[in-house]
Every structure is written in structure tokens, then in C-alpha cells.
Symmetry: D2
Subunit: 288 residues, 4 copies
């Protein structure tokens, strides 16, 4: 894998520690900074950020890079890590793999050798799995019946919708999936499920999972389709549900966000690692 | 359904309330006693036990009937319900459907028209579903990776083992099932999973679910197969794991018991109702 | 459905007869021409083409429209149906729904009110189901073992690849799917299958299904991955296999083409009907 | 595996040749007799029966042993193999593994060291897989629609019923299973399918598979449930359908028998081998 043999992970939550451990288990050199207050360092040793940058071939920054625009996103750091200092230390040449910038000003990274792992398609596809499992775990915990045998609607048939609906059917639920396009309706039917159309679902459901990041369940649709269903919204805020209308109708809505880090941080860390490996492989191929 | 048109539910936990509500939704008459301290009576009204017994065609007692041998098992009752008084009030003729007796002396029920719903096979089969889902919910919550893609061993291929392994495969896990008999090994293989033999599983696993109510994971087997696996034991206490040996080896064991009432009380209540309906149907047929 | 209440089907194979019957069962008026030599008219009566055109609101032409450029594709017609005569009779105004033109000169249809059902995406998606089932039927007939438990590679993860691989996994096969993109590899993994990359599959397989319409199994790849595998090629001719290389190596290749009409003509006919209904619904909406 | 290192296979159809080849691939010594007229000896050489018996540690006889009571069942033999001669040559001591006797008089085998592989439970369980696949292949060939999306009833939930219904659901069919016992109804429901009761199925179906070897579809039941369904009967003759009633009603019934040998002879041969290995392992353990 090219000439990158050592990684430094600076900042981030438990996913980055799992990422670090997985890199270590691959036999590569790994150093971490910003985890001094973590209760479990997974066998790694806290190292000052400067020493990390000095020592390694490539840096991995967290997802998101910053939540306030000033400090690196590093909840386990003993002292705040000022973003500008870290960036200065890294300099223009050292390869950096970062999550999305969050509140950080993109201009800060200008001229750096930086690329984003969290915007890659295989990153999103891989994270759809822990998202779907987290949604299922939430439903098992919050719904007073079993998923098996229940009438469940999954809104949206993108990555998460496809994986979630497959898992629910695999657990014996009666699954419908709402789509926008006729061809997707055929794919849903082929997978042994009932297609609905997102703008006017017609069935009656016990649980509705939404994966569509625009308002799909407005007051009118809620009134018709959800009476006493439990709604689990997986779409980023503000989500796809008219929460006020739902509250007025007494419909329970759970916003289940950031599932991968909560439900499967080890997997989430390995996904970060795999994505970075893919990026390095591609750079390496292009340089041949 | 014969000449039983009204039911009285005396004592029990939230499952009995769901059972009551479901009977009500079937259009039958239902009266409950022993739920005065419940935060949600599901639209029903607390009635004194004597009045309930007076009024209804058949009585439903909880599962178990008693936990201390003296009082009816009724965690939501405002005052303790002495078992002997309840039994005296019911008398010898009125049909009673009860869970297992628990700590109650079977002699107390002598001569009564009583039958047990929780010992019926379809009751156990139906409860295997919420048990399996509760096990999956526990694994999603406690395991730091995803079930999808993980190597999972289900020990035992009875009701729970069959349903649990099917659901796990349906979620995309790599499932092995341990069995005792060659013919069960063939059924496991046919279902797209890998058979193991319960007395000497050979694979390496991320998660092990045990459903077998005898010691299957002793120190020797643990040493070989489980290194850093998460073990979820669904078998009634003392369960199927040598907990001391596991603790010495640093293996994490979770005892996940009484899943249906915890994870899906509504389903658990409906299962009680359905089983009682089956019993009444059979009595009725036999009387024709 | 707009103002089209009667259909005329002229020419085509048994799929068009099933399409006709299904339209009839929907309560619409249907007349057919070109089936006089069919052994089973499914309760319909042969009518001369001119009379059909005269009588109906819309015409349905076969798939393909012509195989020789001169006559309508109508294997069951008692006399050849000259394409130019049919086209002249139809005229410029009457709505026509046709399959792809085949050998017919597109210029012939200039100025007509004609649209193509077989180029629509939901048509292709729906036909992926009978194609996948036909492939499975072929494998069951031709392979000397069971699919269950066999190592199977599906090349390509488009419509057919997705449905076929899901069905094979549902039958208990050990399924790998070859893809080109990393994100598809993640979707394959999420579905409980093993991803391969189409340009260098690494596993060893009992059966290989190809769905990719370019040369994917060249001599070099065949040599490595297929030794004594059975290969079933679903891609349109010339297909995705180097047949000469396969023959030299003694590898058996079956070209399984036009599956929907062969394996499930009723479904194929209903798909034609549904697609035409969709087209009419869209015209109607656009006219509102 | 004990002290049996060489096998002789005398008589039988292509399954026995596959069994022989699989034994050979395990590195054991194998000699065959009775296959001189086979077009493909799979690399083996025909040897006279006497020489085989002389040479090997154990003999494998076909399934069934005889179809006429006089000759060994050996459709590929150049000359008939008289059963009594074979038995005399084998003698009392040499271990023999045989299929069911068929028309052979059991008394002929008295005092021999013979045991039956085809009556073992794991043999029946393993053969349920090729039987189910053969049934699916038959349905794909004979039904004019797709299994995907069709309403299918599987009668009986024994080995074949369980595997067949799982495969059909895995292909996206809408599956019901008829059972006799309430607990099996719960297991069917848990598997995401609809339970029916065998004595009065209520649904309407496109395809009915029967696995129950007693008359389950009599005239009355046929009249109600099958109108224009395709019926595939997997139960041994006379099967579970009133064929005369079905004929009168114009219902199509296909008897699909002896599926493993027809649809997956290689698998069927390997099942024979595996069963014999199991028997030898058990003998060996018992002798320790």
C-alpha cells in the first residue's frame, strides 16, 4: 500500500480509537492524540499532537473535523486542541484524511494535501449497515410488540432503505417500501415486499421508518397512514416528519441519528479505516 | 366460542393488561383487578377481585401465579392479593386459565376447574419470537460491531434456536448453529447455515447465543471457542455457561431472561389470549 | 384511465395473448389479430387486422415489432402480416404501443403516435424477475448438484444481478457477487453475500451466472476461476464469455436468453400490460 | 475411520457412480461393478462383482437393492446381476451398506453384516434439499407465471415442507404452509409465512405443493381451494391428491417423484456416502 506505513489519529470519538486499533492489528504503525480522558485506550498510549505529526506518514482527522470552528472535535482530549495549531503543524505536504469539516472554515485547509473519507460513496454504503441495525435495535426497544409479523413501512429505497427493508423481511416482518419511481416499485416487489408510493402511502402500519431527508410525512399523510404507528426517523434533522402535526395527533416520533457511532462503534471505526485504505490504493494506482 | 363471553383478569404484570385490552378489542367483556398502581390502565377500570369473580364467565391468573406462595403475583395491585382468598372466591366450578404455579402449592388448586396456558406447546412456540427479538436487541445494544457480517453461533436448534438463527441470517450475519443430532445438522445446512456439534463447536465466533438449558459451554469449550466473543445466554438460570470460568477468562456473559414481557409485552399479552382461546375451542369441540 | 377503453393486439407470441387476456380480465375491450394458428386462443377470437384497427382506441404491437424488416413479428399468424400495410392502416393519430423495432426501419413509423413500452425502466426491472427465475430453473435442470450449499458467483449487480443473487441466497446457496464499484461491494456485503471484483474474481465456484453484457470472462479469467464450473450466461449475444476459450478448456457454457417469454409468458404478458397502463397514466396526467 | 479403507459399489444408478467418485476424491480405495453400459464411468473401471467383493473391506448396494426380487437393481450392468449370487459371494462377515430392500425378500439377507443407509434420519433430511429444489425446478418449468409474487401453499411442515417453504419465500413468493398442530402454525408465522390448517386450507393459491403422504386434497378441499392452481405432489404414490376429482375439475396435478436422483444426482450420491461414513463412525465409536 504505497509508502504510507504509519498513521497518526488526532481527535475524534471512540470510532477513531477503534480505527486506530484496527490499523494496529493490520501490522501498521499507529499513534494517537486527544484520547487522554478516555476510560479505555484499547492498548494505545496518548501522545502529544506535535509528536504524532512529526512521526507519522499520514494524519487522520475526526468526523466532523470541528464542531465549533475553533477546536478540533476531540471529546476525550485532556486539553482543547486548537484547530489552527494542528493545521499549522501538519503543513502542506503530509497527507491528511479527514471527515467532513463541520463548523470548520474550509479556507483553513487551503493548499493542504487533504481528502475527505466521509464523502465517499462506499463510506456511506458501509455505514448504512450499522444505521439499519441501530434502527432495528431502537424499534425492538421502543415498540411494544415484535417486529416479526408487524406491518412495517420503510420510506425510501436508497442504501439505508434497501438494507433495512431486507433485514426486516429477514426477521419475518410484513414489509412495505415507499418509492418514487416505478422501476423501484418493481425492485421492491421482486424482493418480496409491497411497494408504496412515497407521496401517498396507502397501507396501515405498526411501525414506519423514514430514510428520506425531505418532508415526506406531512400532516395530511400522517392523518391517513399512521394513526397509532411508531415512527422512527433516520433522516438528518429536521428529518422527514412534520413533528408538530405528529405531536398534535399523539403519534410518537423517535429521531434516531448518528447510529453507527452509537450502536456499532467498532464497525464504524473499521469503515473509516477501510475507506482510507481505498483512497490510498487509488492514489497509488494513479501514480503508477 | 362456546359460552364464555366474559373474562376477568386478576393480577399479573403489563402482559395481562395487554391481554385484557386485546380481549376487549375482540368485542368480549373484560374486567381487571390488581392494576390500581399501574401508570397506564389502557382504558380499563380497576375492579375489586370479588366483584370480578362474581361477574365473569372465566378467570385468567398471572404467569407465574405466585412468586412467594402466599400472594397472587400482582406487582401493580394497590394491596396484596392473598392467594387463598382469591381461590376461595373462585370456587370449584368457574373456569380458570393460569400460568405456571410458581411458588404456589399445587394442592391449593385441587378440585378447581383450572388449566395452564403457559405449558402448552403453541404458547412456547409463539414466545420464541419475542425471545429471539429480545436477544437480537440485546446483541445490537451490547456488541460493539454490527451483527451483519459477524460470525455468530446459535447453540441449540429448538424453537428459539430455529427462529433466532433464521432472523440473524436474515440480517446478513454469518450464522452457525450447534446441534446434537446428525439430522438437525442437515436441516441447518439446508437453511444456508453452518452446522456445529454442541459438544465440540470448532469455529471462532464474535457472538454466541445459547438456548440450551444444560451446561454446554464449560471451561474447556469456552477456552477453545470463545476467546473474546460476547455470550448471550437465553437459557433459564443457571443457564448453559460456566459463568465462573467465563469470568476468569474475561469473557463477557449476558443472561437475557424473560424477554417476551420485557421486549414485546403487547405480543406477550396477545399470546396469552390466543392460547386461552385455543384451549376454549378445544373444550368446546370436545363437548360437541 | 383516460379515454382509451379498447385495445387491439396485432401480432406477437404467446406473451401478447396473455397480455390480451389480462386486459380482458380488467374489464376492458380487447381484440386480437395474428393468432389464428395458436393452439390456445385463451378464449379470444381471431379478427382481421383491418377490423381490429378500425374498432379500437389503441394498438399494441409486438416485441420486437419485426424480425425481418418486412413482416410484423407474428409467429402464430395464418398469413404473413406485411408491416407497411399495418402501418398504413393505423395512420398517424391512433395511439400505438410497440416493443423495440427490431429489424424494422424506424423511418417507417415517422409521424405516428407511437411509443415504446420495452425501453421503459420499469419494464426492464419487472422482467428481471422472470429472467432470474429462468436462470435458476436452468441451473436446477443442468447442474448435477443442488444450488443449496453450492458456491455460486453472480457477475454484475444491476437489476438481474440483485434479484438473482437474492433468490439464490434465499435458496441457501453460498453466493458471491462481482461488482465494479466499491460502494456496490458494500451493498453486496450488507446483503449477506461476498463481494468480488468483476475484473479479477478470486474465488472458486460451482456455478457462475453472468449478467454483464461485455466480455467479463476472458481466457485468463476463465483459466483462473472456473475450472469445472457450469457457466450460465444471461447477457444478450455475444454475451460476456469467451466461448472459444471456454470450449478449449472444456468449460460448459449455457446461453440462457429471452427467459421471460420462455419461463413465465403469463407474467411477461402482464408486464407488457402494466407498462402500457403506466404510459397511459402518465399521458393522462400530463394532459390535465 | 475405523479399519474400512476400501469400498466396492455393486449396482445402482448414476447416484452410485457419483458416490464412488466422491469416495475416490476422499483418497479411499473404490471399485465398482455393474456400470459397463454407462456412457460416463467418471474415470472408474468396470470390475466383475466377484473381484470387487474379494478385494474390498465393505460393499455398498443400491437404493433400492432390487426392483424385481431376483436381480440386483443395476440399470447400467452389461449382464443381469442375480441377487442370490451376489449375496452368496459377499458372505456373512463383510460389512454391507444397502438402500431399502425394495422387492428383495428380507430373509435373503439374514445373518449378514448388513445395515441400511436410506432409513437413517440424516439421509432423509439431506435428501429433502434436492427434493425441494427439484420441486422448484418443476414449478418454474410448468407454471406460466413466476414463483416470485405468486400465492403458494406448501402442504405439510416436515423436512421437505420446511426447506421448500423457506426457499420459496427466499425467492419472493407469498408463501402459506398448512400444518396440523397449533405449535407448527406458530413456527410458520415466525418464519414470515401464513399458516393454514391441512384439513381446511382457506386461501386461494396459484401453486400448491403437497408433501403429506396421505389424502389431503380430496374432492371437497380441491373444489374450494384450487380452482385453477397448479398442483405439484411430492408425496410417494398414491400421493395426497384425489387425482380423479382433480381431473374432473380440470385441475392440473404433477407427480414429482424421486427428485434427488433426477435433479441432483451428484448431491444424491454424496448423501449416500456421507450417511455411510456416519454409520461407520458410529460403529467405530461403539467399539472403542
Amino acid at each position: 500500500m504505497s509508502d504510507i506505513n504509519s498513521f497518526g489519529i488526532i481527535g475524534g470519538d471512540i470510532r477513531q480509537l477503534y480505527c486506530a486499533r484496527s490499523i494496529y492489528e493490520d501490522g501498521l504503525d499507529i499513534t494517537v492524540s486527544g484520547f487522554g480522558r478516555s476510560s479505555d485506550m484499547m492498548g494505545m498510549k496518548e501522545t502529544p499532537a506535535d509528536a504524532v505529526i512529526e512521526r507519522v506518514d499520514a494524519i487522520i482527522l475526526p468526523l466532523p473535523v470541528s464542531k465549533d470552528g475553533e477546536r478540533l472535535n476531540s471529546p476525550f482530549a485532556e486539553e482543547p486542541l486548537p484547530l489552527s495549531e494542528i493545521i499549522n503543524s501538519i503543513g502542506k505536504d503530509k497527507p491528511v484524511f479527514a471527515g467532513m469539516y463541520g463548523s470548520a472554515d474550509p479556507a483553513m485547509f487551503k493548499g493542504m494535501n487533504i481528502s475527505c473519507y466521509s464523502s465517499r460513496e462506499e463510506f456511506a454504503a458501509a455505514n448504512a449497515v450499522p444505521t439499519a441495525e441501530g434502527a432495528i435495535g431502537t424499534a425492538i426497544n421502543e415498540f411494544d410488540g415484535t417486529l416479526n409479523g408487524s406491518r412495517i413501512l420503510v420510506m425510501g429505497y436508497g442504501r439505508i432503505g434497501r438494507i433495512l427493508s431486507m433485514m426486516l423481511r429477514g426477521m419475518g416482518a410484513e414489509v412495505s417500501v415507499s418509492v418514487r419511481r416505478l422501476k423501484d416499485a418493481e425492485m421492491v416487489r421482486a424482493a418480496g415486499m409491497k411497494p408504496e408510493f412515497t407521496d401517498h402511502p396507502e397501507g396501515s402500519y405498526d411501525i414506519i421508518f423514514n430514510t428520506v431527508p425531505v418532508l415526506v410525512l406531512d400532516a395530511r399523510t400522517l392523518a391517513r397512514c399512521a394513526s397509532d404507528a411508531l415512527i422512527i426517523d433516520l433522516a438528518s434533522l429536521p428529518g422527514g416528519i412534520d413533528d408538530n402535526a405528529a405531536a398534535r395527533m399523539g403519534i410518537r416520533v423517535i429521531h434516531a441519528l448518528s447510529m453507527p457511532g452509537k450502536t456499532a462503534p467498532r464497525t464504524a471505526g473499521i469503515i473509516i479505516k477501510n475507506t482510507i485504505y481505498n483512497m490510498i490504493n487509488e492514489m497509488y494506482k494513479n501514480n503508477l
